[in-house]
Amino acid sequence: MVLKFELEDELEHKFRETAMKKYGYMKGSLQKASREALRNWVNQQPSKIPKVDDPFKLVEGILSHLKGEKTSVQLQHEAKKLWAKKYL
């Protein structure tokens, strides 16, 4: 199957350059890179996540019991430290 679409010049140039670097300056390199890119993109799209009308309603205020105790920036820094402690 053949897919045809237009790309911005900059993206096309980077794509060609990167594909050639990875797969060599030969016929088929762009096809291999395109397949890899498309496969990765398809795999990253949500397929089992339910749709909701207003996702903000799901998360707005879920941590409101911490309001006044910690700011959003403090929570972010705490989580980074926790992540580092756990995974580094």
Partner: protein, 134 residues
């Protein structure tokens, strides 16, 4: 793709907290589509938000809700930094005196040509080629 803006984790966390700038952050996120702006964040920052939820709420339902929230935006691009960006972040740490994760944000922004960041963290104010818009 119109203008690009990077969104820091604390913008999402502000909404989760429903703190003083929550409405501003929510309006900002909701306005992106109308203004033809594309929002970018990193996978790491979305994990940070999920870790905060895990730390502070018992039920895993809230983690699933947060994931639905993150997957909602067609115009939210989740970047997965490459080794190039990780390496650049190491250099930015020395040059701009930021910690690694803030440096990684700057590295990703430069890589993708993003000039604006929505963040409540004033650390980014010292980076000259980046403008903090919230």
């Amino acid at each position: 793709m119109g203008e690009k803006v990077f969104v820091d984790a604390n913008i999402f966390l502000e909404i989760f907290l429903k703190d003083s700038k929550s409405e501003e952050c929510k309006d900002f996120l909701k306005s992106l589509k109308d203004e033809n702006k594309t929002a970018f964040t990193t996978d790491f920052l979305s994990y940070i938000c999920i870790l905060v939820i895990q730390n502070n709420l018992k039920e895993s339902k809230f983690i699933r809700d947060a994931i639905i929230f993150f997957s909602y935006y067609e115009d939210l691009v989740i970047l997965r930094p490459s080794f190039d960006e990780l390496y650049s972040a190491g250099e930015i740490m020395d040059n701009d005196k930021l910690d690694f994760d803030d440096s990684l944000v700057v590295a990703c922004m430069r890589k993708y040509g993003i000039k604006e960041i929505a963040s409540l963290d004033k650390h980014f104010d010292k980076i000259k080629d980046i403008k903090r818009i919230i």
